[in-house]
């Protein structure tokens, strides 16, 4: 078996105990936080007898370990259960919402890479010049801006003042690419600003570190052009920490960029997280935790594979 494939399989197998541990912890946690779904469903209008009846109907009256084992049995068969409220299957809900979140996150990541990497590189190359000072100031400001505030400012500027982009609505980029992008540009910018700044800072510090290495001096001594030194030798090595951080952030964002999705009325995973938590919709919360966990492990796997592309010394086997 090729080393790469063996590594992937090992990681996937290692996922099983991780998910098992996570499922126990999350199941217990969800049930100890205050808030009873039966009470939420009755909205304060139910009698104690009705609460007991509803808890029984929802199966909440049975011991926790029995409920856990039943849930686990269903999950193994690929069934994450259904919402306590509208009876939709959790899997369907995730499948339906994932594309929106994925489109949003991909566009935000694209923006951050397209701006953050060149900004970090320029900042490092022209260290302590006005370019560096401006870039550092902008990254500092961008890191300090709360995304909901930035989102509101973007709405005011681009939707209300300049009348360029819509505020609400959502069209898939598949159905209509331009229309879909029009709905995603502002939320992606609001989401991507922090990542851009983070990436620019990381790239700057990494490139500065790499530029001080012996092999860079050797490359320059060999008479290589500065562009080759920078892009082939410095930047490529400097990208490893950036890839790690972007991978982690992508995992977080795919788990639901709740604030931005809520602000821009995007029907993604983030809004589902908020609704499920407010309603104490236990099967949905459990399903979301599982989804986020799997996503995290898979993204880490992809990040590891990217390392091998960026740094041949890390190649398997």
């Amino acid at each position: 078996m090729p080393p790469l494939l063996r590594n992937i399989l090992t990681r996937v197998v290692a996922l099983v105990p991780i998910l098992f541990g996570l499922s126990i912890a999350s199941f217990a946690l969800v049930h100890v936080i205050p808030g009873d779904p039966a009470l939420v469903m009755l909205g304060g209008e139910g009698t104690p007898q009705q609460v007991v009846e509803l808890r029984k109907q929802l199966g909440l009256d049975r011991p926790l370990h029995i409920r856990y084992l039943e849930w686990l049995g269903r999950v193994v068969r690929g069934d994450l259960g259904e919402s306590l409220y509208n009876k939709t299957r959790v899997v369907d809900e995730l499948i339906w919402r994932f594309p929106t979140t994925l489109s949003l996150v991909c566009l935000a990541l694209l923006i951050s890479v397209l701006i953050g990497v060149p900004a970090g590189l320029l900042s490092a190359v022209y260290r302590n010049s006005w370019v560096d000072h401006v870039a550092r100031l902008l990254t500092l400001v961008s890191l300090s801006l709360p995304s909901f505030w930035l989102g509101l400012m973007l709405i005011i500027l681009f939707s209300l003042k300049l009348n360029l982009l819509p505020i609400v609505g959502y069209t898939s980029v598949v159905t209509d690419l331009w229309s879909g992008l029009r709905f995603l540009i502002l939320p992606s910018c609001a989401l991507g600003t922090y990542l851009t700044a983070l990436l620019a800072r990381l790239v700057r510090s990494s490139v500065l570190e790499v530029l001080g290495q012996d092999y860079i001096r050797t490359a320059r001594a060999k008479g290589l052009r500065e562009r080759v030194v920078l892009f082939r030798h410095a930047l490529r090595n400097a990208l490893i920490p950036a890839v790690t951080v972007m991978g982690i952030n992508m995992g977080i964002l795919l788990g639901g960029s709740a604030v931005i999705e809520t602000l821009f009325v995007l029907p993604g995973v983030g809004q589902l997280v908020i609704t499920a938590l407010y309603n104490r919709d236990l099967p949905v919360i459990q399903g979301l935790i599982l989804y986020i966990s799997v996503l995290y492990v898979l993204i880490n796997l992809v990040v590891d594979l990217l390392y091998t592309y960026l740094d041949p010394r890390l190649r398997f086997g």
């Binding site: 205050p34 009873d36 489109s103 505020i167 609400v168 959502y170 898939s172 980029v173 879909g180 594979l305």
Partner: protein
């Protein structure tokens, strides 16, 4: 080459995933009324839910036997006329002839029997309706006879109660849909098209709608679908709702803020208006635990410490108003006693004196409040300052809805800031939470119970007025709860929208509304 190859495959797969997983877009057709609501619905079976937004949207789709009129009193809706037997125990309802469901079926008495029996079997109001209704019978296709266990003057109001409303489904509809209503079928002017979660709830004009020719009032009377389509768009953030209205992305925005009234004053093409709502905030004392449970003087001290006018100014920017009594101003049983609020002006000296007499020694008291809507934590903070001014040591604890519900239901609070939405009868305001059979507050007072019982058994209006005056008097002396302020109901609509009726009850009525260019 191999190394670069897998990278390309990965990139292509990633892009493909994004493209393949697309969801369909929105495609408007005909005249469309777009209404921005402050959240999404959670369920389409109104028998099973008390969630406010569900009924804001779906009472455009479903009808009830009786419903709230403009004045919050119950009026016939699907009922043409009704009689009550001399002993007050049997209600004979005659249904309007020829009313069609969205499925094409004609409404008959069996549908009413089915819907009320369904409500008795399951849902938030099953206990209430089981305790009230002895039998429901379809006497003929248009006549329903409902026998009560005992006389209840508020029965018609109970049927008109919009909280988990008694909407009428076709006979056997839930079973046809697999046991749960997932596609609403009603008799209203608009029929349900689709619910795209967190995106849109789409309704369309019901071509087979049977118009009720009685005068339009509240949810009742002549209601015409004048637009082809209604889209309710859930926009949780009020600033975004206002911006969407300003830009014209929506035609109407519900639940705007008081600041928006000032911000959009004089803005061409836009109306943002506030009405003092009929919902009011109130402060409830806990009688299961805490410092107030056996101490009426301490509760009265709280009443005298509160400055309702100050709360109105600070929180509603003067657009709300103080709530003088446990029932709203202008409702049928609101009399001179109700209007003369002894706690209308703050009396800090009296509050301090009562605190001393009550033996209060500066113990910390926790004031529980809703986190959303934001007006509640704002009121809580103003109250905290007012209590501190008379020497009370109060800490505010805001809880999100699920945790707050647990606190309320278990009676685990000293005092609790909440609110009462419109109810169709005074008895529901006074007795729902404070009669001893209600367990949340733990309040037990034999005289209060007797008056609640009398409110249900007394049929004559004048006698009921006396009962509700006595209840108000008792409320002010024993003080299980304190009515605080009416919250302002702020809505905005664009000038191309004609016929929009801003209702202090806060419901969005899409009928009798046109949308121009």
């Amino acid at each position: 080459m191999i190394r670069r190859g897998w990278m390309r495959w990965f990139a292509a797969g990633f892009l493909g995933l994004v493209l393949l997983c697309g969801a369909p877009g929105l495609a408007p057709a005909g005249t469309v009324l777009k209404i921005a609501a402050d959240g999404d619905i959670s369920d389409v079976d109104l028998h099973m839910t008390t969630h406010y937004l569900n009924r804001v949207v779906l009472l455009n789709v479903y009808d009830m036997l009786f419903a709230l009129g403009e004045d919050m009193g119950p009026r016939p809706s699907l009922v043409d006329k009704y009689t009550v037997s001399p002993d007050g125990l049997v209600y004979t309802l005659t249904l309007r002839r020829g009313v069609k469901f969205h499925s094409g079926k004609t409404l008959d008495a069996k549908d009413v029997v089915y819907s009320l029996t369904k409500m008795q079997a399951k849902g938030p109001r099953s206990g209430q309706l089981k305790g009230l209704i002895k039998s429901i019978e379809a006497a003929d296709p248009l006549t329903v006879k409902i026998a009560l266990h005992e006389v209840n003057a508020g029965f018609v109001a109970t049927l008109a109660n919009p909280i988990a409303p008694a909407v009428i489904y076709p006979d056997g509809e839930a079973e046809r849909q697999g046991g749960t209503i997932t596609k609403p079928v009603g008799t209203g002017p608009f029929e349900f098209v689709e619910w795209r979660k967190d995106s849109v709830i789409r309704l369309k004009k019901f071509a087979g709608y049977t118009v009720d020719d009685r005068p339009t009032s509240g949810f009742t009377g002549k209601r015409l679908a004048l637009v082809d389509q209604v889209d309710f768009i859930p926009i949780r953030d009020s600033s975004v709702r206002a911006a969407a209205l300003e830009r014209g992305d929506v035609d109407v925005a519900l639940s705007l803020t008081q600041q928006d009234v000032e911000r959009y004053k004089g803005k061409p093409g836009l109306t943002v208006a506030a009405k003092p709502g009929v919902s009011f905030a109130d402060l409830r004392f806990g009688f299961k635990k805490g410092i107030f449970m056996n101490n009426p003087k301490l509760r009265q001290a709280v009443g005298y410490a509160i400055d309702k006018e100050e709360i109105v100014k600070a929180v509603t920017f003067g657009l709300g108003k103080p709530a003088p009594a446990g029932i709203p101003i202008g409702t049928p049983y609101f009399g001179s006693v109700h209007g003369n609020d002894p706690y209308g002006k703050p009396n800090p000296e009296k509050a301090k004196q009562l605190l001393t007499e009550a033996g209060y020694k500066g113990e910390e008291i926790i004031l529980d409040s809703h986190l959303q809507p934001s007006v509640y934590p704002e009121i809580a903070v103003v109250l905290q300052a007012q209590f501190q001014a008379v020497g009370m040591n109060v800490r505010v604890r805001t809880l999100e809805s699920a945790a707050l519900q647990t606190t309320w239901d278990g009676g685990e609070f000293a005092f609790f800031l909440s609110g009462l939405s419109p109810r169709p009868d005074a008895e529901i305001y006074y007795c729902q939470f404070w009669e001893s059979t209600s367990t949340s507050t733990g309040y037990k007072n034999a005289e209060y119970d007797r008056l609640c019982g009398a409110a249900r058994k007394t049929l004559k209006d004048d006698d009921r007025k006396k009962v509700f005056t006595d209840l108000e008097t008792l409320l002010r002396t024993d003080m299980p709860w304190v009515p605080l302020i009416y919250l302002a109901q702020v809505e905005g609509w664009r000038s191309n929208v004609q016929g929009w009726q801003h209702w202090s009850a806060g419901y969005a009525r899409a009928w009798n509304v046109t949308v121009g260019k």
